[in-house]
């Protein structure tokens, strides 16, 4: 299994850069979510926690993949990213009121529709999460196509 070395050095560099971007997005999302909850004091709701479960490990998986570039990283990270993306989509729709609140799973603690911040008037926390997962999946998909034999 040496398909991590396929192509030219230039191509390998590109692949590494794409994975590096994935890692940056995941790291910013992780630190950003911690900043919201721990620094600004926004209590995370249940759905936020599920998305955190998906994004936090990605920082480490991508990180390991970066140190010794491993094509398997796509296979291991994509399921987490897709799961997180689905939850983020659900959360965003719930937050925007597209999905009625009666079917939401939060019964205690902080309601998942609690409004904390809306950057530029529309970038809510669930939407930020959704965008992060979308970016990661897009990058991983690109990487997978480049790595395909």
């Amino acid at each position: 299994m040496t398909n991590n070395k396929i192509g030219t050095d230039h191509g390998a560099n590109r692949n590494w850069t794409i994975l590096f971007l994935c890692w940056i997005v995941a790291s910013v999302a992780t630190l950003g979510s911690l900043f919201f909850s721990e620094v600004m004091g926004f209590a995370p709701c249940v759905l936020c926690w599920y998305q955190r479960i998906c994004i936090y490990p990605l920082v480490l998986i991508f990180g390991v993949g970066l140190f010794s570039f491993d094509a398997g990283v796509v296979k291991y990270s994509l399921p987490l990213a897709i799961t997180g993306w689905c939850i983020a989509l659900y959360h965003t729709l719930l937050y925007q009121g597209v999905i009625p609140k009666s079917i939401q799973p939060c019964s205690e603690g902080v309601p998942c529709t609690e409004k904390y911040i809306e950057l530029l008037g529309f970038l809510s926390i669930p939407l930020l999460s959704f965008l992060a997962f979308t970016a990661i999946i897009a990058l991983l998909y690109l990487l997978r196509r480049r790595l395909a034999p």
Partner: protein
């Protein structure tokens, strides 16, 4: 530059940003809210404010609340526990910050019920039945009329009192005070004039217990 170095340096940069941001935000929040509370000390408690607990209590919790707010509802038992744990030492002052749709109507109902001596019973009823009338996407404050008869209130008188201009003035004053103190979320707590900056049960408990230690 070696790739591994890029990763390590980026990680360190991100972490530094995080820590720097934390110090900036925390310091700013604490300073600005405390300064605001000091500057607007008279806005914390008004003569019209409803209070619970001993008038001699040296620890005064001011809660800016909204009967339709789920978190206010969640905090209600916690505050009661704290007051029960330190009998006679804590006083609660209720202020209105009706941020939810239809919440000013609920505050008016509370004030009208107060004229019949059923303020706390009505507030409890509102919290108990909140899921039925305060749904975020379909709030129906009118539904409270189904539940109010349970308290044996004179509903005719209550409806008439709702139009009392003194009540709307009182709510408007509370709203103005909430703005002056930068209460943008409910519940907004102040303990002996100190704002609860980091929100949460433990943080509020720590703030209250700190004031209890300082005053008793």
């Amino acid at each position: 530059m070696k790739k591994t170095h890029i990763v390590v340096i980026s990680a360190l940069l991100l972490l530094m940003l995080f820590v720097l941001g934390s110090f900036l935000v925390k310091g700013k929040q604490q300073d600005s809210l405390s300064a605001l509370a000091r500057k607007n000390a008279e806005a914390l408690v008004r003569d019209h404010s409803q209070t619970a607990g001993s008038p001699d209590a040296k620890v005064v919790i001011v809660e800016f609340m909204d009967p339709g707010c789920e978190t206010c509802r969640a905090f209600d038992p916690f505050i009661k526990q704290m007051m029960a744990a330190y009998p006679g030492k804590i006083r609660l002052v209720i202020r209105y910050a009706p941020l939810h749709h239809g919440a000013d109507f609920m505050c008016a109902v509370l004030e009208a019920a107060r004229k019949q001596g059923k303020y706390w019973e009505t507030l409890q009823l509102m919290y108990d039945t909140q899921p039925q009338w305060a749904d975020h996407h379909n709030p129906q404050p009118d539904r409270i009329w189904q539940y109010l008869p349970r308290l044996g209130l004179d509903l005719k008188k209550l409806k008439k009192d709702l139009d009392d201009p003194a009540i709307s003035r009182l709510i408007a004053q509370d709203m103005a005070d909430a703005r002056a103190l930068d209460v943008r979320k409910t519940p907004g707590f102040f303990v002996n004039g100190k704002p609860l900056v980091r929100f949460g049960y433990e943080q509020l408990q720590a703030l209250i217990e700190g004031e209890l230690r300082a005053n008793y």
